[in-house]
Structures are given as C-alpha cells and as structure tokens.
C-alpha cells in the first residue's frame, strides 16, 4: 500500500492511495457533509454537498469521487462552500414536501441533520409543493415520494448489494422520481425480496417500515457497510 500525505483544512494527514478525499477526511475526524454517499455502495457525486476546494484547481471537486494525491491542499469549509451547501439544502427543501413534524424519521433524518449542519433554518426559495404519490402497496414497507431527495441510495443498494434492481429513476429534471419495477406499485414487483436494505439506505423518511409512527423509525445505514465487509473480508462481527 502506498501512503500519500495531504493537507485538509491546514491539517497535515496521511491517507492510502486508493482512498477518496471524503474517506481520508473522515479518518482524520473532518466532517464533510453528504447525502448521496453511502458506505458500501458506489459513489455518484450527485448531491454536490461534499464539494471541496483544491489548491490549483478552479473547479470545485466532489470529495466522494476524487482520489487523494500526494501533496493535495484541500479546504472543506470556505465561505463559498458553506454558502453553496446551504443553498443546495434549501433547494432540496423547496423541491419536495418535507414536513418534519409528521415524518416517521423526525430526529433520525440525514436531511434534517445536514440542514442543521449547514445552518439552514428556513428556505429562501419558494416551496414548490409538488403533487407526489405515496406507495403503500408493499406489505411491509412504504414509499413516500414527497420526502424523496433522489439521492439514489436505494437504487444502488438494491442493485449492487441485494442484486435485485427493484429501483431506478424515471423521467427527467424536476419531474424525476424513483420508480419501482417497470413503473409498477412496489408490492407488485416480483423482483423485490423484501430484504429492507433500501429502508436502511434511505437518508430521509421516503422509504419506511410500515407501522412506525412519527419519529419512531430508525434507519441503520451502517448495516450496508457491515454486509459489504462481511462478504468481502469474511468479517461477520459488527
């Protein structure tokens, strides 16, 4: 293994050459906010919250897909980045129908956490109030598209870990939505094994276990990472 040294937020640290900036920062205790990244599945660089400034590059780079390089000098909390992150979270809140008070994951929600983390208490963009559906056709789980932020963690976890590919994205732009099967009700999708990995992967209350009342549900995204390590490295203890 080759070790690289780099500087993040004026802190000199080391990372192995196959690590991303996000992983290296995490190991060093530096928190870079993200919503679409999930340990154990591939990265897509879609939420843009983990953008960082790298010295010598005029473009902002997503930490989740940028590999560390020897001598990199990275800033993760510049004023510009903070402003953009807050705007991105505001855009998310204005785009869907996120009403924490009546959400099953209130208090256990990554979108909520990120909003607090970036200092967003209200959205300066007008709310769109889109007409979105709730799919309760699955016997155990439910999908509330109003709370979906299209991070595609469910899509990736179902495809890459469970191998079922129940989920995908349909339509374009602001009309995009997560689709089950070939645009069927979730309960009608034969491919679904009811494994519940998508429930654990979901950062918001969009995919939930039925029977949980408001703020009762706990997601366990760590389970995905555990499964991957278990399969790849035969470590079966958590």
């Amino acid at each position: 293994m080759v070790v690289k040294t780099l500087i993040i937020n004026n802190q000199l640290l080391t990372a192995s050459e196959d690590q991303t900036i996000l992983e290296a920062a995490k190991d060093a205790g530096i928190d870079i906010p993200t919503l679409c990244h999930l340990d154990g599945v591939s990265d897509v660089g879609a939420c843009r919250l983990c953008l960082v400034e790298i010295e010598g590059s005029s473009k902002l780079q997503p930490a989740c897909v940028t590999q560390v390089q020897e001598g990199m000098v990275i800033q993760t909390e510049t004023e510009k980045l903070q402003t953009y992150r807050r705007m991105a979270v505001e855009l998310l809140f204005a785009e869907g129908n996120h009403v924490c008070a009546v959400c099953v994951v209130n208090g256990n929600c990554q979108l909520q956490d990120v909003a607090v983390r970036v200092g967003m208490d209200h959205s300066r963009f007008p709310y769109q109030f889109p007409q979105r559906k709730v799919d309760l056709s699955h016997p155990q789980f439910g999908m509330d598209h109003n709370r979906c932020i299209l991070c595609t963690r469910c899509v990736r976890v179902c495809d890459e870990i469970e191998g079922a590919h129940v989920w995908d994205v349909a339509s374009r732009g602001g009309q995009s939505f997560i689709v089950s099967g070939i645009n069927q009700p979730w309960g009608d999708v034969n491919a679904c094994t009811s494994c519940g990995k998508c429930v654990d992967a979901c950062p918001t209350g969009a995919i939930f276990r039925k029977g949980s009342t408001v703020a009762e549900m706990n997601h366990d995204p760590e389970k995905i990472r555990f499964l991957v390590t278990a399969r790849e490295q035969k470590e079966w203890t958590r």
Partner: protein, 535 residues
C-alpha cells in the same frame, strides 16, 4: 476493393454525369423538404419525361445548398443558375427555360451566387454538400471519396495521422474546443486491445441544425473520417449516436453504411490492409444531456442517459470501460480534407488559436437564414450584415446569441468580435456547436433568458441538485421578472443562484445552464431592472 477499382468508379461516375448536357440539382435535405422539395423533384422528373428530355437533362437529389430560408432550392448546371422558393407552378417555366434563353414570368426567384452569402464562405466541411447525391456512394467516390482512407491505411502509420491532425490545429467542433490531435493521441496511447470511436450526432441546441445538414448531405464523409480516426487511435468499432428526431439523417447514414460495406470500405481488412472497422448507429430518444460525453456513453450502453463525474475521462475509461474517442460530426467532417491537403494547409486558415472554418446555423430575425461555413476569425458583423443580409424589415441588430443554452448573447456594439473560441469566451458566450440566432430591437432579453432556462430545466437529467432544482427556481425567478412581480431581492437571488448552479453542477449542462442569464445580465441589465416592481 483496391485503389484501381476506386479510381475506376470515380472515372466512370464522372463520365456518366457528363453524358447529359444539363443537370438539375434539387436540394433534398430537411430544410427544403419541409417546404415541399420532394414534390418539386418528382414534378421535375415527370416533366422531363413528358418533354422527352431524359437524354439531355438529369435531375439529381442533392444535400443542403445552404440558403435554407428560401427553399426549395434548385440549381441548374452548367450555367449554375440558382432558383429559390421553387413551387410546382414554376416547373413548366423551368423546363422551357432549359433550352431557350427566353425568360418567363413564371420562373421562381433567381439566386445570386456572387452574393456575399456565398462569396464570403469557405467550404471545407460542406464542400460536397449540394453537389452530390447523398444516397449514392459513387457520387462521393467521384469527388475523391475514400481515397484518403486508402492513403492513410497503406501509406501512413497511426502516429503520422495523429501528427497531421495535431499540425492542423483542429479543435473539437462540438463546442468545447479541445485540441483534436491531443484527444486522439491520448486515446492512441491508452493500453488495451479494445477501443472505440464515437460520433456525437446528438445535436440538440435550439436553433442549431449544422450536424443534421452535414449528415444528410454527405454521410460518407463522416464514415471516412471516423474510419481514419479509428485507425489512428487503434479502434475497430465505431458508433454514431444520433437523435431519433433526425430520421432522414439516420436513413441516409444507414444506407451509406450498407453501401460502404458492399464495397468493402467497411468491415474486415479494408483495402486489403490489416485494418478492420465497422460502424453501428445508436438512436437516442433525444435528450439534450446525451450530448454530454459520459451521458452519451451511458446511453449507447443502453442505460439511462445521465452523466457521471470525470475523471476518468472517456479516453481512459469510456464505452464499457474501454478507451473511447468521442468527436462531434463536424470534427470528423474536417478529417478527410486535413489528410488530403495536409495539416499545414488547414492551419493556414483561420486565426492563431482557432484554425479552419466553422459551420453556423444562421437563424432569427435575419434576411438570409441558413447554413454557412466561414473561416475562423470572420467578424460577427460580417456574418450578420453581409452574409446574413442584415435584420428583417430594416430592423437593427440588438444581439446575437451563440452557443445555444450553454452560450450567451453578444450585444450589437461588440459585433466586430471575430469568431474564435477564445474571443467568444471572453464575451461570456461560446462557439458551441454553431447555432447563431440574430435578435432585433423588439426582442426582450429577459424573455430570451427565460426561454433558455425553460429548455434547461426540461432537459436536466435530474441527477444533481443544483441543475435539477436550481434551474426550476431560476426559471421561476425569471418568470416573476417577466410578469413584473419581482423585487430587487429576487434579482439578487437570481444572480446568486446562477453562480451556484454554474459552480456546483455535475456536468456541462448544469454548469452552463445559467450562461444565457449571466450574459444578458452583463449586457442588458437595464432590461432586468426596468422590469422590477417599484417598492
């Protein structure tokens, strides 16, 4: 097929064309077809038969003649008489005029080939356009077609080809302007047995139809250019990614591929060299984002057309993870003349950093609408006022939009800017693939910005937040302005959001989506301010 056979076809076809003293060439590209060129050609065919002139007159369907706004166009050789707006009523008069010098009242308006529209152009990409029958490979061979492929395969090493292209200074015509030679060299240097070449024919900018016209007028030119590129980078398989909205171009390409295969100009051991090459067509459903190379590759692979972060660039990991060369239609169309005349010849045309010519689709409130090809460095004023003949109804130019939804507006006082990658970028716009829309004094720049933002919010793939949700909010803010409901605070938010979407989006679509707003704000801020609510 060997060189002797190729030259024999060339000679034979030329002789055949010279057998009949007269030739009527009808434009049968989409522009003219849309105003009735098909029935004009049919009636001409019938009228010639009725007049028993088959032995003397040949009617030929050809590609785009350029002046699309005045179609259907026909040209009669050897006098090179050009007629515009030909209708069925004109046909008898045209037939009579063939043998007599007598002019008739019923003749269609005659075009002037010495008009600046034609005189200021330099045809490289479009040299065969409007001259040859795009459905007939022999016509292409008659103009020297496939001879450069032969030359490259039998007399040049892949490295020689790359050197020649590098020497030419050709830059990518899709809009980015990346040096073509460098791109080719990168793919050539990548290790790996399997490599691909892709032709990006996913032209989707509002107001742009250059690639379509090139494909419809001279499809073999693209095939030959791609084959040369494939030889240079070590690929044996090519894809043309084209949108389903271009059915005629697809039909002609399919036919061209079949003809090339039948002649052994595509397939295995072309010209008895060890080089194998085949081309497949991939028809896209028509998504603007699929012009973005990583989204295009995903779409060719049969996946949802969404971009992914780069690096790795397609040159390193493209189609199915193999090294892939992606170039635009016009870029490939430039290859044959570069090989034929040499890189130095090409580099002698244009300016210091922008070599060769550029094809533009000149549209909007202008006298002469159509396709033009001018040397780089030609000023926008020359294009608009001389070639384009100025604004309709004696109006004045307010701005010229280039680069489509990724570009911006050039205000009237900067019309003397030469057409170059860098000079346009300095003005906050881009060359783009080559759409050029002229706007007159009555155009509202805020509404133009809103039009492009509407396009972008519809065409966003929805993957990243700034582009998916940001363009929607930008569109709403612009609507508020147009409806005179916006305040200074909204204008400030508009500007801040433009910057955020530009800086944080995942791919080129999102990064450039705010450009029409940013550039109109730069030059026409008054218009935005005058729409604000007085508080």
């Amino acid at each position: 097929m060997n060189l002797e056979e190729l030259l024999a076809i060339q000679k034979e076809t030329k002789q055949k064309r010279q057998q009949k003293p007269k030739q009527i060439r009808c434009c049968i590209a989409s522009g003219c077809l849309s105003c009735g060129a098909e029935s004009v050609k049919k009636s001409l065919d019938n009228a010639i038969k009725e007049a028993h002139l088959e032995q003397e007159v040949e009617v030929l369907g050809v590609g785009c003649m350029g002046i699309c706004g005045r179609g259907p166009s026909i040209e009669i050789d050897p006098e090179t008489t050009l007629y515009h707006n030909v209708t069925l009523e004109n046909i008898p008069a045209i037939i009579t005029s063939l043998n007599q010098t007598k002019t008739s009242e019923n003749l269609p308006p005659q075009g002037d080939l010495n008009h600046p529209f034609f005189a200021y152009q330099k045809l490289i990409v479009r040299e065969n356009s409007g001259k040859i029958d795009p459905d007939n490979i022999d016509d292409y061979i008659a103009e020297g077609g496939y001879q450069q492929l032969h030359h490259v395969l039998l007399e040049m090493t892949p490295n020689d080809v790359i050197k020649e292209v590098t020497k030419s200074g050709l830059r990518g015509r899709g809009g980015g302007g990346y040096p073509t030679g460098v791109k080719w060299a990168t793919v050539a240097k990548m290790p790996g047995q399997q490599k691909y070449v892709i032709c990006n024919a996913d032209e989707g900018d509002p107001g742009a139809f250059m690639d379509r016209a090139v494909l419809e007028s001279d499809p073999h030119r693209i095939l030959e250019g791609m084959a040369i590129a494939a030889y240079a980078v070590g690929a044996n398989h090519g894809y043309i990614y084209i949108r389903a909205e271009y059915p005629l171009a697809i039909k002609r390409l399919e036919k061209a591929i079949q003809q090339a295969k039948r002649y052994g100009l595509m397939g295995s051991q072309i010209f008895d060299s060890p080089f194998d090459f085949k081309i497949d067509i991939r028809v896209g459903a028509g998504a603007f984002v699929c012009g973005e190379e990583t989204a295009l590759i995903a779409s060719v692979e049969g996946k949802r057309g969404t971009p992914r972060p780069r690096p790795p660039y397609p040159a390193e990991s493209g189609l199915w993870g193999d090294p892939t060369l992606i170039n635009n239609v016009e870029t490939y169309a430039n290859i044959v003349p570069i090989i034929r005349e040499g890189g130095d010849w090409y580099a002698s045309i244009g300016t210091e950093n922008s070599k060769g010519t550029k094809v533009f689709a000149l549209t909007g409130k202008i006298e002469n609408n159509g396709l033009i090809e001018v040397p780089m460095g030609t000023s926008i004023r020359t294009i608009v006022e001389e070639i384009g003949g100025g604004v309709l109804d004696q109006g004045t130019v307010k701005a010229v939009q280039t680069g489509g939804p990724s570009g911006g507006c050039i205000p009237a006082h900067l019309l003397d800017t030469p057409v170059e990658y860098d000079s346009l970028q300095k003005l906050g716009t881009i060359m783009g693939s080559g759409g050029m829309i002229v706007m007159d004094q009555d155009t509202s720049m805020v509404e133009i910005a809103r039009f492009y933002m509407d396009f972008c919010q519809e065409e966003s793939c929805g993957k990243c937040i700034p582009c998916r949700a940001g363009t929607v909010q930008l569109y709403d803010l612009l609507t508020k302005l147009v409806e005179r409901k916006a305040t200074q605070q909204d204008l400030d938010q508009l500007e801040a959001l433009c910057q955020m979407v530009k800086d944080t989006s995942l791919c080129g679509l999102g990064m450039t989506a705010p450009n029409p707003v940013i550039s109109t704000l730069q030059y026409f801020r008054d218009e935005y301010v005058s729409l604000l609510q007085v508080t």
